[in-house]
């Protein structure tokens, strides 16, 4: 006896490729985004050029522009000012959105190799620290001043050695004795009441003076440089002289030639020994960086506190660091390729100042090199190739390094991604992981894999290309995007998207993402993986309808797959919308041994108009040999059609505003007797679907005996 049954998936979930899989999972879910309001999947997506009003890809068409190696958006003023930085062809540019032009900030930088780490951007206060492991790390102070807002990170050299001018006898010629005060000899330049200029040398005949100086620089970030080498020693023996009717021992000051600091220096600090001493004390701060001399008239008792030791500020310990992160007022930097397991940290609030002993050497060898840094609650996560360590503590009480997990790490620093209210996600060799919780207040720090069911993609992934994998999270879309290379590709050809509201993944194909980030409003800003439209490119007249790429682009609600060439030179035109595909899980209806006769598939959609969906039905895990289940309009059955855009039937000089209405469209599946059933639809028309119901009958027929 036949029995009619239904299998209902009320709300479709994301991709799960595996056996077994739940009925509400998808075997394929390409180019869809999730709407939490309706629990529907919509294909209202695509990508468009950054300046949608510009001709072709302006302003990214300069002759030196190539594929975009990295991109970063640094917002300020509540998003009114956003610094769009991108790197191409060994050059760092800032995009000026107001003038629709690009400003070259740095050139002659190394271009990342195909398997090398991408450039890293890490905010620290009013600076953006930019490092790539090959060129010198820099600090960029975002303000539209161009390259004069760029400063070296750390002190690359110790200050030049100051020199003290020799002092001759009072009233000798040429005049090198500078009287300190007028209380001994009348007519001097200094007043007796001016206690500040007391004079350095002694007050009694025969008093010997012996001094030396050091100098340091202070930059606009508040960092003090290492001390210079000691100056030449200056010695003087006091003598008595008579001027007119007055006899006495005049005191002198010293004139010091001081070095000029590098760009960004706002002051120079002068340190001096006491008479015949070897310890240096604060003498004065020259709050500018232009004068080349300083006159010192201070007595020993007027000197300030002891100078910092030479180990308190050293020259930049990691001049080609790759990863940086601000944590507890300090800037943490890795040791670069030359010292890949060393982690330095700066003095608090001084990102350029490093003590000689402010570093950690990471312990376990199996953990591998440092591959990323990410602050998380009260800890700094130190990602390594196959381990994760934690930095705890603070600069006042001292930092400590503790291992967190062994065996799981990352090679994709650009895929370490904070997802609000969920945790820190990162991409390991075998999937996407999530770190959640904390170590304070009784909480536990937990690690779990969230890409369950996506092993298929990671089995096919190009591990060597993982340093080029990129990711970004959008609070606006509530999606985390990951792009990486699979199937031997040398560029990112696979996209997977974690939908926060659904806690499952979908796939993205056809997105040429070389690098990606989000702006202040949560728009995904990406860089093309190729540039074939720059001035002077060959061929200069590509075939019509081949993909055209160049510069930055935006993942938006514009339903188009970027641009293609028009067939006339390098001019471009809009491409058609992306193709979106849904493929259901294999459904055995609860008993794998029973034959089922599938009659209908009811697709729950939101009505979209006269566009059509074509469904294919499959049986018994064979994706070849599908059966067409018909093509249906996205209108409600048994109701008048809703008016649609650009149809003469409804063109009455007005807009027919409509609501998207929940409806079910029935597809008839003919003669489908199977053990397991699946269906697929693929469209480049707008579509929003929620779930489905499969109606089938069972007459008790069981699977036949196996073949011998």
């Amino acid at each position: 006896m036949k029995k009619v049954s239904n299998l209902t998936v009320v709300s479709q979930k994301g991709v799960y490729i595996g056996i077994p899989s739940s009925d509400d999972s998808a075997n394929r879910l390409e180019n869809w985004k999730y709407d939490a309001k309706t629990t529907s999947w919509s294909n209202e997506l695509g990508f468009e050029k950054f300046f949608s009003n510009s001709n072709n890809f302006a302003p990214f068409q300069g002759s030196t522009q190539r594929k975009v190696d990295s991109v970063y958006v640094w917002p300020a003023h509540s998003g009114a000012r956003q610094s769009f930085l991108y790197e191409t062809n060994g050059q760092l540019f800032e995009l000026n959105g107001s003038t629709e032009t690009v400003t070259l900030l740095l050139s002659n930088r190394n271009i990342p190799t195909d398997t090398g780490f991408l450039q890293q951007y890490s905010p620290y206060g009013r600076y953006l620290v930019i490092s790539n492991g090959l060129d010198s790390p820099i600090k960029y102070r975002a303000s539209r001043g161009g390259s004069d807002r760029i400063f070296d990170l750390g002190w690359r050299n110790i200050p030049g050695t100051p020199t003290v001018r020799t002092v001759g006898q009072p009233d000798g010629q040429p005049r090198t004795f500078i009287d300190a005060a007028s209380n001994v000899i009348n007519g001097q330049i200094w007043k007796a009441s001016d206690a500040f200029f007391r004079g350095v040398t002694g007050t009694a005949v025969g008093d010997k003076s012996l001094y030396a100086y050091r100098v340091s620089f202070v930059n606009e970030a508040g960092s003090e440089s290492p001390l210079s080498n000691p100056s030449n020693e200056i010695s003087f023996t006091a003598v008595s002289i008579t001027r007119g009717s007055t006899t006495g021992v005049p005191r002198t000051g010293f004139i010091l030639n001081i070095p000029i600091g590098p760009a960004g220096t706002i002051a120079r600090r002068i340190y001096r020994t006491k008479n015949d001493g070897s310890i240096y004390f604060f003498n004065a701060q020259v709050s500018e960086n232009t004068s080349s001399t300083y006159s010192d008239f201070l007595e020993d008792v007027q000197l300030g506190s002891e100078a910092p030791t030479t180990s308190e500020s050293i020259s930049m310990p990691s001049p080609s660091c790759r990863f940086t992160a601000a944590f507890k007022d300090c800037l943490f930097i890795d040791g670069g390729q030359m010292d890949p397991q060393r982690l330095w940290y700066s003095q608090p609030r001084q990102p350029d100042t490093y003590r000689a002993d402010n570093y950690f050497d990471l312990g376990t060898v199996t953990g591998g090199d440092i591959t990323g840094l990410m602050p998380y609650y009260n800890s700094l996560l130190v990602f390594r190739e196959a381990a994760i360590d934690l930095i705890r503590g603070d600069s006042l009480n001292g930092f400590t390094l503790t291992p967190f997990i062994q065996g799981v790490g990352t090679r994709s620093p650009n895929c370490i991604l904070p997802i609000p209210n969920i945790g820190i996600s990162f991409m390991s060799n075998d999937g996407i992981y999530l770190i959640a919780g904390g170590l304070d207040g009784g909480s536990d720090l937990k690690l779990r894999k969230i890409s369950i069911g996506l092993e298929e993609f990671f089995d096919r992934a190009c591990i060597d290309m993982f340093p080029k994998a990129v990711a970004a999270y959008s609070s606006r879309e509530r999606e985390a995007h990951y792009y990486f290379a699979i199937d031997g590709s040398t560029f990112n050809n696979k996209g997977i998207v974690f939908h926060v509201d659904n806690k499952t993944f979908s796939e993205r194909t056809g997105f040429p993402v070389q690098c990606i980030t989000t702006d202040h409003d949560g728009n995904f800003i990406a860089g093309y993986d190729l540039h074939n439209t720059y001035s002077g490119v060959s061929p200069s007249n590509p075939p019509a309808d081949t993909p055209a790429k160049g510069g930055l682009f935006v993942l938006s609600g514009r339903r188009q797959a970027g641009y293609v060439f028009s067939g006339s030179g390098l001019t471009i035109k809009e491409n058609k919308p992306l193709n979106s595909t849904f493929r259901s899980a294999w459904m055995d209806m609860g008993d794998l041994t029973l034959k089922k006769q599938v009659k209908y598939v009811y697709l729950s959609i939101l009505s979209r108009g006269d566009t059509e969906i074509q469904m294919e039905a499959y049986k018994d895990r064979e994706w070849a040999n599908g059966v067409t289940a018909g093509t249906m309009k996205q209108q409600r059955p048994d109701h008048p059609d809703q008016p649609v855009y650009d149809n003469d039937l409804y063109r009455w000089d007005k807009v027919d505003w409509q609501d998207k209405l929940l409806t079910r469209i029935r597809f008839d599946v003919a003669n489908m007797s199977c053990m397991e059933f699946a269906f697929e639809f693929s469209t480049n028309d707008a579509c929003e679907f929620i779930g489905f119901q499969v109606e089938y009958t069972v007459d008790g027929t069981k699977v036949i005996g196996g073949k011998k």
Partner: protein, 225 residues
């Protein structure tokens, strides 16, 4: 800089959902309302080259409005001399009773119109016109019961048929009218019209000219919100 890109795409064969449309539109509204500051709009950044024509308003003019030739008939009473040897030199022409548009008088007839697309904002309307009104029969005949015409006229401004301005009665023989008003206006096509009323016939004949107007300018300025 605050940037906005497409949130939705309206395509052929799709229904047009008002909510989606509003959301997409709001992207830009929020940008203009608060997403820009001195970084984007420095001092004196907006000059004449940056301002496109009709960015802030739109003006329409219907000029040189005069008594239609078809209704401008010669006066049969006034200006004919004793010898009647120069009938053309001092005869006047204009509107008369007994024919369009005055007919028997005391009803408004349309003189000038301006029809155009407005944006939400204010609409400033200015009507200027010269007119001449012969003064014969201007008074009651003393010690008789003979009635004569009450000589005056009145202007009215309408928008889409609704009166927005009524002038007082104008009694001067030669007079240049200048009337103006400003009202809030909604987006869409609107018709501005100026109408004229002449009193009902009293003791007047059909062949006497009542009114001549010329040089009328109907100026409308839609100031955008």
């Amino acid at each position: 800089m605050a940037y906005r890109w497409n949130k939705n795409t309206i395509e052929n064969k799709d229904i047009v959902e008002s909510r989606e449309f509003d959301q997409a539109h709001n992207e830009f509204v929020s940008l203009i309302n608060g997403g820009m500051d001195r970084e984007n709009l420095p001092i004196e950044c907006v000059g004449y080259p940056e301002m496109k024509k009709q960015s802030f308003g739109k003006a329409h003019l219907s000029g040189n409005v005069f008594t239609p030739i078809a209704y401008a008939d010669q006066d049969g009473v006034y200006g004919t001399g004793f010898s009647n040897n120069n009938t053309r030199g001092n005869r006047i022409v204009g509107l008369r009773y007994g024919q369009d548009p005055i007919n028997e008088g005391d009803s408004f007839f349309e003189v000038a119109t301006n029809s155009f697309d407005c944006q939400e904002g204010m609409l400033h309307i200015h009507w200027k016109c010269n007119a001449y009104m012969p003064f014969y029969y201007a008074f009651w005949q003393a010690y008789t019961s003979n009635t004569v015409a009450r000589k005056r006229y009145q202007w009215k401004i309408n928008i889409d048929g609704v009166t927005v301005y009524d002038s007082s009665a104008i009694c001067q023989s030669f007079f240049t009218t200048n009337i103006a008003t400003m009202i809030p206006i909604s987006a869409g096509n609107h018709k501005v019209s100026v109408s004229l009323r002449y009193p009902a016939r009293g003791d007047d004949a059909d062949n006497q000219v009542l009114l001549q107007y010329w040089g009328g300018n109907l100026f409308c300025h839609n100031l955008y919100r």
